[in-house]
Each structure stands twice: as structure tokens, then as C-alpha cells.
């Protein structure tokens, strides 16, 4: 057992090291890309009444744009080395602080959405696989198609319209917590956990109520790929020799489906879940906008529109880092789901 764990850790470490060059590449590429894009942030931010040439020059200097691009790159890299991601013009705050405040919001939302999606998708996929071609199978297919067809902001607006505007069941869709509720002391940054740690059940429920609608509209969108992949790989594993053997020796239905078939079918689902997670984190922007969720994706979009370089670069770096981590976690999950797997 120890050796198994040791091997996993060693593999994770190797993986992490080998991803460093890729991260560096992302860093430089984003840096250059932002500077190639048309649009001068200094001119944009000097948009106040009467802001003239002098103001533009001043902002340029403030953002370090008065230097040549290679020089800027060297400064940028040395800043990154010291853990400084620069300052956002848009919020006026250091990018690191902004990201640190906003990332938990995005993570909480994405985890919840992924959890809802998995809880819904895996049983749906299994049920569909057990009776392929049946009415249930078609029902699941229809549900999945609808989920994918409706863009997240449409489902988000619809959910708001029904549950907030018409029924008045949901709280107003403005961020993570009602403006009149006081916040718990920040420990994890995940409001639902922080409230529990502070023993404030009322606050916890308030935070959860805010979370349900956005998480649901995101989950709806990703149920489809998860359910489809579960169905496909369940079909393969249900038709395989070991399931036939298990059935023939008279094992219980539950044992056959859950222990043997599902455990073998879950590998591709984990892969897809990993990819879906990373994509959701960045592609959340519409849900974040609709629900005024103070997450990283809407932050990055606003920054991109105003050519605010530092936040965009910081965001891409963060996403790349998370992608590496998620891949790592997926690898480790593989090892747990199927001990034979060893990816060097």
C-alpha cells in the first residue's frame, strides 16, 4: 500500500515538473498576445472628461507601457517570480488580491454545479444504458439535448424569471450573499463552508439559496456530456465478459451493475468530469454575469474588453495552473478507480 501511495506521489511530482515549461509558454504567449491585440488601454482608461495626451502618457507610464515590449516582458517575468501579478486598472487593486477574492466564488459555484451534474448524470446514464432504446433512454437523450441546446444565460434568465420574479422563492440574483446579511469570518473563502464553521446556520442557508440557481443553470449545460459518456461506457462494460460471468454465477443485480460494471465504466467519466470542470471555471462568464456572481471569469472578460493587460494575464496563468492541477487529480483518481493504471 505504501509503495502504491509513494508511486502516486512521485508520479504527481513528475507530472507537476513536466508542466512547468508549458506554464511558462502560456505566460509568454498571453503576454505577447495582449500586446498584439489592437486597442491601447491607456487611451481607454484616460476616458474621463478632459483627459488629454498628458493623462494618456501618465497611464502608459503607470502600466509600464512606455518601455519596449522585451523590456516589459523581463519586468513582468521578474514580477511574477516575486509573486506579483501586477495591478488592475479596472478595479484599482493588485491582480493577485482580486483573483484571491474571486477564485473561491468561482470554485464554489463550479464545484456545486459539477456535483449536481454528476449526481444527475451518472444515474441517468446508467438507467439509459440498462435499457438501451427504451422510452427511458429516449427520455434521457431528449433531456440531455435540451440541456445542451439552451445556452446557460438563457436557462439562467429563465430560472431567475420563474423562481425570483414570478414565484419569489429564490433570493435576488445579486452575488453570493444577500447585501443585508453580514459575512462570516473568512477562512476558506467558500461561503457555505465558512458559515458552517462560524456556526451560522441561517447564513449558511442564505448562501446556499444564492448558490442554487446559478449552479443549476450551469449544471444543466454539462449534464449532457457526462450522461452520454456514462451511458456509452456502461454499455461497453455491461456487454463485457466479466459482467456476463458475474451474472451467470448469480451475483445480485446491484453488485453486478454498481460494483463491476459501473466501477469499470467510470474511468472515462472521470476524464470528462475533469475537462468539464476546467472548462466550466473559465466559461462560466455568462452565468456569472447574469447572477452578478463575483467570479474570475466575468472579471477576465471585463478586463479583456478594456484591454486591461494584468488581469487577463493573471487569469490565463491561473487557469493554466488549475488545468495542470485538475489533470493531476484526474490521474490520481484513475489510480483509485483502476489500480492497474499507471501513467508515467
Amino acid at each position: 500500500m505504501m509503495t502504491g501511495l509513494g508511486a502516486t506521489v512521485a508520479r504527481a511530482g513528475r507530472r507537476l515538473l513536466s508542466s512547468l515549461p508549458a506554464l511558462f509558454g502560456v505566460l509568454v504567449f498571453t503576454f505577447l498576445l495582449m500586446r498584439v491585440l489592437p486597442g491601447d488601454p491607456a487611451v481607454f482608461f484616460a476616458s474621463g472628461p478632459n483627459a488629454g495626451k498628458e493623462e494618456i502618457e501618465q497611464i502608459r507610464k503607470q502600466m509600464g507601457l512606455d518601455k519596449s515590449v522585451p523590456e516589459q516582458l523581463v519586468f513582468y517575468l521578474s514580477d511574477i517570480g516575486r509573486g506579483n501579478l501586477g495591478r488592475s486598472m479596472m478595479t484599482g487593486q493588485p491582480v493577485l488580491k482580486d483573483l484571491r477574492e474571486r477564485l473561491p466564488a468561482s470554485l464554489e459555484l463550479t464545484f456545486t454545479a459539477l456535483l449536481i451534474a454528476l449526481i444527475a448524470a451518472v444515474p441517468l446514464g446508467v438507467v439509459a444504458a440498462l435499457k438501451p432504446g427504451s422510452l427511458v433512454d429516449h427520455g434521457v437523450r431528449l433531456f440531455c439535448a435540451l440541456g445542451v441546446c439552451v445556452p446557460t444565460f438563457v436557462s439562467g434568465l429563465l430560472l431567475i424569471y420563474v423562481f425570483y420574479y414570478l414565484l419569489g422563492l429564490a433570493p435576488d440574483p445579486t452575488g453570493r450573499i444577500d447585501v443585508f446579511t453580514s459575512l462570516p469570518p473568512q477562512r476558506t473563502g467558500f461561503l457555505s463552508i465558512d458559515f458552517l464553521l462560524a456556526g451560522d446556520i441561517e447564513g449558511w442557508w442564505a448562501a446556499c439559496k444564492q448558490l442554487i440557481l446559478p449552479a443549476l443553470s450551469m449544471a444543466l449545460f454539462v449534464i449532457a456530456p457526462l450522461a452520454r459518456i456514462t451511458r456509452a461506457s456502461m454499455l461497453v462494460s455491461l456487454g463485457s465478459d466479466f459482467v456476463r460471468t458475474a451474472r451467470s454465477v448469480g451475483l445480485s443485480w446491484q453488485k453486478v451493475v454498481v460494483t463491476y460494471a459501473l466501477r469499470n465504466a467510470i474511468l472515462p467519466v472521470i476524464t470528462i468530469a475533469g475537462i468539464v470542470f476546467s472548462t466550466m471555471l473559465g466559461a462560466n462568464v455568462l452565468v456569472e454575469k447574469v447572477f452578478s456572481w463575483p467570479g474570475v471569469a466575468s472579471y477576465a472578460l471585463d478586463a479583456l474588453l478594456s484591454s486591461d493587460y494584468a488581469p487577463v494575464q493573471g487569469f490565463v496563468l491561473l487557469m493554466a495552473g488549475i488545468f495542470v492541477l485538475v489533470n493531476l487529480v484526474v490521474d490520481i483518481c484513475y489510480g483509485i478507480a483502476d489500480p492497474r493504471v499507471s501513467i508515467g
Binding site: 491585440l37 489592437p38 486597442g39 491601447d40 488601454p41 487611451v43 481607454f44 482608461f45 484616460a46 476616458s47 474621463g48 472628461p49 478632459n50 483627459a51 488629454g52 495626451k53 498628458e54 493623462e55 494618456i56 501618465q58 497611464i59 503607470q62 486598472m89 479596472m90 478595479t91 484599482g92 487593486q93 482580486d98 477574492e101 434568465l157 431567475i160 424569471y161 425570483y164 420574479y165 419569489g168 435576488d172 440574483p173 445579486t174 452575488g175 447585501v179 443585508f180 454575469k289 447574469v290 447572477f291 452578478s292 463575483p294 466575468s298 472579471y299 471585463d302 474588453l305 478594456s306 484591454s307
Partner: protein
């Protein structure tokens, strides 16, 4: 025993009842005494002087800081708007303008205190005004328009008197001191946070306030929300009374439909940046108060670059002016919510008055447009692009489609370009766009100010890049013209030049649609086009 138990029971009852009475209304009161204002933008600095600060930051600073003077308000068609001609004291108890117009003397209120309790002195005022004209901040360029350029112009006479000296009698000097930037800072506090590289404490003041304003910052989350609470000692609005609301929550809600839902459901109290379509439907439902004020210090226009062919030819510009589908654009873009600047009738072909913005005698007349094109030597038309920025897409997109359709009828082929905001500003600054739509605003809307800033010089705000020496000369002279009749005459001349040269085509002044709960009162359209939280109260 029985007596005792009865007493304890009744006292429990009484206490419970008292508690109920005490808690229930006080909670309701807290909500009633709180203003929740939602907006698509956000506050990004507590000092509006920082380059890049947003309009919401301007509005917030009006409540957290005082200035020497403030604009009064007047009724315009039954709606309250700011009054440029009525300047009242804010931190100044009174002020005098010397007969030659070169000296402004301000006497400070004796009871004025900063939020930390220390008195407001002439030293603080001088430091703050010095900062505004010396530090590399936005106030510098603004105060320049009122001939305020150097720290030598501000002189402390005694602890409660300050004198401002002008090189020329400038009408805009006094109004400039009522704008957003020349806020009065507690200089003792600010100096404690100044560094040798940053002698004016700009970095510290970005995140902190040190003022005497009506509200104190309670929490500030850039990009999300700001909560301010009332400064009980503030009495600059009305004597012996602080601002109405105990707390104001300024919250960013990026999605306009959500903002409309919030205010309709009564969860938000006030919003000024809804989409025209939402405003219309909310107004029709009649539950909310909708106050629509044409933004009379702003203009939306279609501009042509007067230096780029074929728009360097005045007849081409006139052709475009008579080919635009004004009425359709007005309906499609704004749902008719605004004041049109087209379709005027000038009986003798001369401007009706000397006020800018003016309503021009242009209307859709394709035959006339074709004639102008012929006169320009381009009877077959030409190809060009029409640009607008993403931020304005909700109004500019329908407009662009109509422009394209209508100009095609006289042979001008238009390619629509939708540009990200930063890219659009850059191209405007580099004067690369031939035909585009934009909006301008002037805090101090006087005729000469508009003409000097938006129609002269090779600078960014001269959108049309017009270079007309006569216009420039008259506008410069008008600036210091003390005689009202002569000033009016100058204005007429400028408007006449504008119409005959047609450097750009003013379209309309969009409405500021303030949508609020029925209980909100006192909303005033302010020069910064945001809500001044000190104006509003609840019935």
C-alpha cells in the same frame, strides 16, 4: 406565591411584547432607511482624481467629500436638474467675486468638521486645491478649463478664509470648483500617508477617504459593492439635518434585465442605467416612479473625419446629413426616449439662438442628399465604414443597420464595424475612423466650452478633426466675453458655422431614465449623470 408567579409571567410577556415591538419596526426601519442603488458599472477608486476612475466613483465621491461650492437645482419641464447658474456654498459659508472678476474669496463654515472630528481649515482647502492643480491627477485638466492652473492662485487669508486669484475673469472658474475633482481633503491625515515619491498621497487616497462629506465608507469591494453610512454631523444640505438615508448600498449588477427585475420587485430602490425597452415596460406597468430627463449636457452624434476623403468635402458631409433616417434611428435605438437634435425649422435659415447643443434643420431628404453628392462630384457614391463600440451596442447596433440601409439608397456602401471599447478609443485618438457614432458630455455645458473642447485643435475630443480658424477664434473670444448679448451673438455665429460646415451630425440627447420605488423622492439629474445620494429621500 401566586402573585409572584403571575408577576414573573406577566413580566416575561411584557418583555416579549416589548422585544417584538422593538425589533419588528426597527428591522423594517433599517430597510426603509437604507437606499439600495444598483448599477451596471462599479466604483474602482475612492478618489475620483485617479486616472481611469469610473463615473460611479465620481458619484460616490460627491457623498464622501465636500467641495467649496455646489450647484443648485432647478426645475426643467417639471423635473429637477442641476443648475449651472446657481452656485451655492458647500464648505464655504459665503463667497465674493471681486468687481473685476479676478478674485474669488471664500469664507468657510465655522461648524464644518472632517469625519475624524477635526475642523476644516483654509490650510486644508489650499492643500486640496494645490493637489488638484499640481499632482498628476484628473483634476488638473478639468481646472485648467477654469483658468486654475497653479498653486500660487490659492492664498490662505486667515484660518477660515481663502482667496483664489485668476489671470483673467473666467466665467468657468467658480463652476469648476463645484465639479467632482476639487474635493476638500483632510490635509493632516493625507500628509501622514504621503511618501517622497507620492507627496499628494494619491495611492493612499485611492483606498481610503479623508473628507468631510455626508457619508462615511463602511465597506468597499471594488467591482462588487460599496456600502456607506451617514455622517451624522454633516449639515451642508439643509441646516441642522444630515442626509436622509442612514446607509446607502451601491451594488454592481452587470445584467440589465436583472437590474430591472430587482427594482420592479422592490429589492432595489433606484437604478439609472436600464435598457430603454425595460424602462418603457416598467413605465407602462405604473408601479414605479420613472423620471426621464434629457441629458441636456450630452450629445449623441454621427461624426465624420473632416480630414479623410471623401469626408473632407463639405458636400459629402451634407449629403450624409440629409440621408440619415433620423426618425427610425431615434425609435430603434432609444424607443424615442430623449430629445431629438434634428428636424428643426429655421425660418430665415439662421440659428434660433446661441445655445449649443442646438436642434439642426436636417431631416431625411434623399433627393437633397443625392444633389449634394452630385455637387461633391461623387454621383455614384462610395464605400466607407461605420464604427461603434461594444459598450454602446444596445443603442448603436440597431442604429448602424438603419444607417447602412439608408446610405445605400444614395449609393454609399457602408461596412459596419463593431469595435471593443479600448480599440475604438485608440482609433478615435489616432483619427483613423472615417464615419462613426459616439457620445460626448460636458460637465459645464456652455456654448464656448463645447466648441473649444470638441471642435478645435488636433486633439482626441475633436472627433470630427475639424480645422476651422474662424470657429476657433470666435470660441476662444467667447470664453472671456463678459457681455451676455455679445456672447449670445458669438453662439449664433458658431452654430451657423457648425450647420454650414456640418463637421458632425448631432442626433439627440438621450434620456437619463431614473427608475425608482414609488417612495423615493428628490431625485435630481446631476452634471456627472449619476445619482447624488444626498438628493434622495424616502417618503
Amino acid at each position: 406565591m401566586r402573585f409572584v408567579s403571575f408577576r414573573s409571567a406577566s413580566s416575561v410577556l411584557a418583555t416579549t411584547a416589548l422585544l417584538l415591538i422593538a425589533t419588528a419596526p426597527s428591522q423594517a426601519q433599517t430597510r426603509a432607511e437604507t437606499l439600495r442603488y444598483v448599477t451596471g458599472a462599479s466604483v474602482n477608486t475612492l478618489d475620483p482624481n485617479i486616472p481611469g476612475s469610473t463615473r460611479e466613483s465620481f458619484a460616490l465621491s460627491m457623498s464622501t467629500y465636500d467641495r467649496l461650492v455646489a450647484f443648485g437645482r432647478k426645475q426643467l419641464n417639471g423635473k429637477w436638474v442641476f443648475d449651472l447658474d446657481k452656485i451655492t456654498g458647500e464648505l464655504a459659508e459665503s463667497y465674493d467675486v471681486s468687481p473685476d472678476g479676478l478674485k474669488l474669496t471664500f469664507r468657510l463654515r465655522k461648524d464644518a468638521k472632517f469625519q475624524d472630528g477635526s475642523p476644516v481649515t483654509a490650510e486644508d482647502v489650499k492643500w486640496s486645491l494645490d493637489r488638484c492643480v499640481t499632482a498628476p491627477i484628473l483634476g488638473k485638466a478639468q481646472l485648467l478649463t477654469g483658468s486654475l492652473t497653479s498653486a500660487d492662485q490659492f492664498k490662505v487669508i486667515d484660518p477660515l478664509t481663502i482667496e483664489v486669484t485668476l489671470p483673467k475673469p473666467d466665467k468657468l472658474a467658480l463652476p469648476n470648483l463645484a465639479t467632482v475633482y476639487p474635493l476638500i481633503i483632510n490635509s493632516k491625515v493625507a500628509k501622514e500617508h504621503a511618501t517622497p515619491e507620492d507627496p499628494w498621497a494619491t495611492a493612499w487616497l485611492k483606498e481610503h477617504t479623508a473628507g468631510s462629506g455626508a457619508y462615511v465608507i463602511e465597506s468597499f469591494k471594488p467591482g462588487e459593492q460599496v456600502i456607506i453610512k451617514r455622517n451624522e454631523d454633516w449639515n451642508r444640505g439643509s441646516p441642522n439635518k444630515p442626509a436622509f438615508f442612514k446607509r446607502v448600498i451601491v451594488q454592481s449588477v452587470p445584467e440589465p434585465a436583472t437590474r430591472a427585475n430587482l427594482v420592479e420587485r422592490g429589492d432595489a430602490d433606484l437604478v439609472v442605467d436600464l435598457q430603454a425597452s425595460d424602462v418603457q415596460s416598467l413605465e407602462a406597468k405604473g408601479k414605479l416612479k420613472v423620471i426621464s430627463t434629457p441629458q441636456y449636457n450630452s450629445i449623441t452624434f454621427v461624426s465624420m473625419n473632416n480630414q479623410i476623403p471623401p469626408f473632407d468635402n463639405v458636400n459629402v458631409r451634407r449629403a450624409v446629413a440629409f440621408a440619415l433616417p433620423y426618425e427610425d434611428m431615434f425609435k430603434a435605438a432609444l424607443f424615442g426616449r430623449g430629445a431629438p437634435l434634428f428636424g428643426a425649422n429655421w425660418p430665415d435659415g439662421k440659428p434660433l439662438n446661441g445655445i449649443y447643443p442646438f436642434q439642426a434643420p436636417v431631416k431625411t431628404d434623399l433627393d437633397k442628399a443625392r444633389e449634394y453628392l452630385k455637387a461633391a462630384g461623387l454621383p455614384e457614391g462610395f464605400s466607407t465604414t461605420f464604427s461603434f463600440n461594444v459598450g454602446q451596442a444596445s443603442t448603436a447596433e440597431p442604429m448602424a443597420a438603419l444607417v447602412k440601409e439608408s446610405l445605400a439608397k444614395i449609393g454609399i456602401k457602408v461596412d459596419i464595424q463593431k469595435l471593443p471599447d479600448a480599440q475604438m478609443s485608440t482609433q478615435i485618438n489616432e483619427k483613423k475612423l472615417p464615419l462613426f457614432t459616439e457620445g460626448i458630455v460636458a460637465w459645464l455645458p456652455s456654448t464656448d466650452y463645447f466648441y473649444r473642447n470638441f471642435y478645435t485643435g488636433n486633439q482626441r475630443w475633436n472627433y470630427s478633426s475639424i480645422n476651422n480658424p474662424e470657429l476657433a477664434t470666435i470660441a476662444q473670444e467667447a470664453r472671456f466675453e463678459p457681455d451676455k448679448a455679445k456672447y449670445e451673438e458669438d453662439g449664433r455665429k458658431l452654430n451657423a458655422i457648425h450647420f454650414s460646415e456640418m463637421p458632425q451630425i448631432p442626433l439627440w440627447q438621450p434620456n437619463q431614465d431614473a427608475v425608482m420605488a414609488a417612495s423615493i423622492e428628490g431625485y435630481t439629474y446631476e452634471f456627472h449623470r449619476q445619482v447624488d445620494y444626498r438628493d434622495v429621500s424616502r417618503k
